[in-house]
């Protein structure tokens, strides 16, 4: 990142998917790298259900306006979350969407979209509740936000003991999905 | 029977002389209640400097200004909530609340039931004169059925609260009732309430002669006191059937008592555990 650069990330889905927690873990990881972070959330007044955005503004310098205005990256874990975010995408934005819960995207002129089996991977690992960790791994791998071990440290710090193993497995699986997708698209570009 | 263990009681030692003469109407029972409270405090040798009296709005609410202590005349219905903050922040103080029937049961009803539930060491006196006297005599939650007030011109048709049953049901550690007709019993009840380690609720049946009595043609203050005698009976005689007592009689004396933990002490115990856990975490 160059001084003055500002990156805006959003993990979006529904309440109860653990999106605010995954945003917090990513914020912790980026903060240890010396980045200035503003993390916010938009949610509806129900603890479960309703759309939920977990946003990060990342900057080399102090963040002036702390809320998202133009998204560089968007992760979609539910089709419900498309509408509030679609108009905010920056040209060329990275969009990761879940193959089960958000299989189709509206047309957009200029985005890089990746359909990844985030929730399916979580289910295969034993709990759909860790889809947020799979998504986090995939996002960091695709957007190259920080080294994997930095993220892992943040996840360790924020996870209760009983969930640590499955969270780290999910994070690793997400990372693998992201890297595969990244390699595949690089290969496609090479052809 | 008053056991005279403390030095001779002189009520003037506990009153703010500069506030005399007081503003209570002739025949009002509140002065009797105040004197009984001061006697009980004297009997317990309560240090005036460590005594905090919190009162609400209304005739009863004005009494705090007459007591030579740290006194707080607060908003209508809220004295128990103010007292809760004061007692939690300053467990070294003895906190007494003086409230009226409107203050305690109507606008402050929620605070009463939660104060009973919480069981913090506060002694709450509710002076029940069945009427909003300060505002000119409107119906209150304790006005007896068919009594005439300025807002029930044809007689009150709402049922009235039994404040002691309410307090007991809400869990107050100590609940009692007495009328101003029996001063020694009233003073002893206050003494017992003050000695109780948790929340104590004492309902004092106190006559409003000037407004309520006049409106309902209940006669002079002495006639109203005599009327109390016919309407009250000690709790010990609750099951008596061959009674000279009338149907709407109210039991008096100690009506409920329990040994639930006092909240202030329970909180400080829980807080010490949180502090210890934090210290342990800090050392790691």
């Amino acid at each position: 990142m160059k001084p003055g650069d500002r990156i805006e990330l959003r993990i979006a889905g529904t309440g109860g998917q653990g999106l605010i927690l995954s945003g917090k873990m990513l914020a912790e990881a980026l903060a240890t790298l010396g980045r200035h972070i503003a993390q916010s959330q938009t949610y509806e007044p129900t603890s479960r259900g309703g759309f939920c955005n977990s946003d990060l503004v990342v900057s080399e310098t102090e963040v002036d306006y702390p809320l998202a205005t133009k998204l560089d990256c968007l992760v979609l874990l539910d089709r419900l979350a498309i509408k509030p975010s679609w108009a905010l995408l920056k040209p060329g934005a990275l969009v990761i969407h879940d193959t089960r819960l958000c299989p189709e995207l509206p047309p957009h002129a200029n985005i890089q979209a990746y359909a990844l089996p985030l929730s399916r991977t979580a289910i295969d690992l034993g709990s759909e509740r860790v889809a947020n960790m799979v998504a986090l791994g995939a996002l960091v791998a695709l957007a190259r936000l920080c080294p994997r071990n930095t993220l892992e440290q943040a996840v360790r710090a924020e996870t209760p003991k009983s969930f640590l193993e499955i969270n780290l497995d999910a994070l690793g699986a997400g990372f693998a999905l992201g890297e595969q997708a990244s390699t595949a698209s690089a290969a496609a570009l090479a052809r | 029977m008053i056991v005279d263990s403390a030095p001779a009681f002189d009520v003037r030692e506990y009153l703010r002389k500069e506030m005399m003469p007081h503003f209570l109407c002739p025949g009002c029972g509140h002065g009797i209640a105040l004197r009984a409270l001061l006697w009980a405090l004297h009997e317990l040798k309560v240090d005036k400097d460590k005594l905090a009296v919190v009162s609400g709005i209304g005739c009863a609410g004005r009494l705090s200004a007459y007591i030579d202590a740290s006194t707080f005349h607060v908003t209508h219905g809220r004295p128990l909530a103010y007292a809760t903050g004061l007692a939690l922040a300053r467990p070294d103080l003895r906190v007494v609340v003086i409230s009226g029937d409107g203050d305690c049961l109507a606008i402050g009803g929620n605070h009463l039931i939660h104060a009973c539930r919480r069981n913090l060491k506060i002694t709450c006196l509710m002076l029940n004169n069945e009427v909003y006297g300060m505002t000119g005599g409107q119906v209150s939650p304790t006005t007896s059925e068919m009594r005439v007030t300025t807002t029930t011109p044809l007689g009150n048709s709402e049922p009235h609260f039994d404040a002691c049953a309410l307090a007991a049901a809400a869990g107050a550690g100590f609940v009692g009732r007495e009328g101003t007709r029996h001063v020694p019993k009233l003073a002893e009840l206050m003494l017992a309430g003050l000695e109780h380690p948790g929340f104590s609720f004492i309902e004092v049946l106190s006559d409003c002669t000037e407004i309520f009595g006049r409106k309902n043609e209940m006669g002079s203050s002495s006639e109203m006191i005599l009327r109390q005698k016919s309407e009250l009976r000690p709790e010990a005689y609750r099951d008596t059937v061959d009674t000279p007592f009338r149907a709407n009689e109210l039991p008096t004396g100690v009506l409920a008592k329990n040994a639930r933990p006092e909240y202030g002490a329970a909180y400080r115990k829980a807080a010490a555990a949180i502090k210890a856990a934090a210290a342990k975490k800090g050392r790691k």
């Binding site: 972070i37 993390q39 938009t42 963040v63 306006y65 702390p66 | 506030m19 905090a52 809760t84 949180i274």
Partner: protein, 387 residues
């Protein structure tokens, strides 16, 4: 960057802290040892944090039966001599006004946090708003003095919470910390440090016979008696004389109420606080608080990069309003723009001070914050004389 090489290395560690968390940390740092509250979105995190933090410093947390009771309990604790605070949002803030007026009139220090959410009534619990600007000043009945502070960042919530206690204690007044949901639930990287020294209340000393609870020179703050110290004084919400007892004697009321109502104005220099950015040469001056000020800061940069002379005036003390500072900052501005999440409450005060002719509003009430681009576009058209 290697942390050890950083010029920031000697400063406190960087933490990720939310606005409401920073408020709880600031309160503890300021010496707050009593909190009473009632759950309400979006302020409950303050209560949750303090339920754990206060016992660790021998303080007391209590969740009361309702909003009225929590305000009352806070005043009760403060009357006992303990620094005390409560936190709420609009619907609860309405309920707190009764006892808040008591604290203002009886001069009991306390801090009230109001995290603004959409209104009226239950409104939009999880969406930001700035529509309690006037309620924070005039919400309780009667004339009374009040201090209202409006932080705009997580770091500032921490420092302004500490300042709120300092002002409350020093001037024996309720102080309201007013910030919007967007800032409250925002998490930012901050370096908080250990806080700063917090003023202490002036306690009564000397002989009991000579003590008069409300005796003070015009505009001055009287010493307070701590229960247990032997003064045995009386406190009431009725109009009172210097001795603390009720009075309706016109001259006595005039004298005592007069002192109360001027005590903040006569210490304005100590109380007022604001930030001016690029105001000196500004053609267009933006006046904003909270999240709208953060958006304005970004809008200002966007405008300046386009060669437009735009400045920002941001009151940190909202009430009493920093009148002279605003008038000085706006001295050369042709237009003044007030972006805010309501239909014109801050604008009303700005118009009162600068006249209506050159003041324009940018208002949003749909639960969405005003984006920097919206403010920049409006400022640009004002700068070009096409409002």
């Amino acid at each position: 960057m290697n942390a050890a090489d950083s010029p920031l290395a000697a400063r406190p560690a960087v933490q990720l802290v939310s606005g409401n968390h920073a408020c709880a940390l600031g309160a503890v740092a300021a010496g707050c040892r009593f909190f009473a509250g009632y759950p309400i979105t979006p302020s409950s995190e303050i209560a949750e944090r303090l339920s754990r933090a206060l016992p660790e410093v021998d303080g007391v947390f209590v969740q009361m039966e309702d909003e009225l009771a929590s305000m009352a309990a806070v005043i009760g604790a403060s009357m006992g001599g303990v620094k005390a605070m409560t936190a709420t949002s609009g619907p609860g803030f309405s309920l707190k006004q009764e006892n808040l007026g008591y604290a203002a009139g009886a001069e009991i220090p306390c801090v009230i946090v109001n995290v603004m959410r959409g209104g009226p009534s239950t409104g939009m619990p999880t969406r930001p708003s700035q529509a309690d600007i006037m309620q924070s000043r005039w919400g309780s009945h009667g004339d009374y003095p009040i201090i209202v502070l409006t932080p705009a960042s997580v770091r500032e919530i921490y420092t302004e919470t500490i300042r709120a206690f300092a002002l409350a204690e020093k001037f024996r007044t309720p102080v309201i910390l007013l910030y919007d949901q967007a800032i409250a639930q925002l998490t930012e990287t901050v370096q908080l440090g250990d806080g700063m020294p917090c003023a202490e209340r002036l306690w009564a000393s000397g002989a009991r016979e000579a003590y008069r609870p409300y005796a003070a020179a015009p505009g001055a703050v009287p010493a307070m008696a701590r229960p247990g110290d032997g003064y045995r004084s009386h406190t009431t919400g009725l109009n009172h004389a210097e001795d603390g007892f009720p009075t309706q004697h016109p001259e006595t009321v005039e004298r005592n109420l007069g002192r109360l109502l001027t005590k903040l104005d006569s210490h304005l220099e100590e109380i007022a606080s604001w930030e001016c950015i690029d105001c000196e040469d500004a053609d267009v001056l933006i006046v904003a608080i909270g999240i709208s000020a953060r958006a304005s800061r970004r809008a200002l940069e966007q405008c300046r990069s386009r060669g437009l002379r735009v400045g920002l005036f941001r009151p940190l003390t909202l009430w009493p309003f920093p009148e002279n500072a605003l008038q000085a900052a706006a001295a050369h501005a042709r237009s003044v723009l007030v972006p805010e999440l309501n239909t014109g409450q801050l604008r009303l005060e700005v118009e009162r001070l600068l006249g209506r002719d050159r003041v324009a509003g940018l208002h949003r009430i749909d639960g969405e914050p005003i984006a920097p681009e919206q403010i920049a576009a409006r400022a640009e058209s004002l700068a070009k004389g096409t409002p």
